[in-house]
Symmetry: C2
Subunit: 91 residues, 2 copies
């Protein structure tokens, strides 16, 4: 099970490696699962984060599940839909 | 099983709805599975294509599997890694 404590929200503002480091830090704290969440354009980056974590740093980590969905967001132009993704990594 | 015949490659050049239409066309031809593939920045758009197809057009279609990986590409600056994703939709 994942909670906010072992969830990394990937955005577009920080460099990709910041999010990779956040994932590695969660695993090093002893958690067995980390959820990587992103919406919209940041989804591509979330995949980068998962792949870089697995391929370069934590080779014993596997992809447990990948879920996609649609979320509604409020913007200045009213309500709109945005795609969302959660990649759960497991040690 | 998916082959090139029921695979839609999502890029960054065409509008999202073109890819949605390509997926719908595959299903309307009688195939039971369509693979949506993308690399790099186009991954976010591939999720949009899957979600729009399911939520707006083909409500009987479900996500069968989502796979992520890393591919090597040749660019003018030499070899580099790029994230890749395949979303398989099933009727």
């Amino acid at each position: 099970m994942t909670s906010d404590e072992n969830t990394v929200f990937v955005g577009n503002t920080k460099p990709t490696m910041n999010y990779v480091l956040a994932v590695i830090t969660q695993f090093n704290r002893g958690t067995n699962e980390v959820a990587i969440k992103a919406r919209g354009r940041a989804i591509s980056r979330a995949v980068d984060v998962a792949e870089i974590t697995r391929q370069r740093f934590l080779s014993d980590v596997v992809v447990k599940s990948i879920e996609i969905g649609t979320e509604q967001i409020e913007s200045e132009r009213g309500q709109s839909n945005v795609s969302a993704m959660t990649i759960t990594l497991k040690k």
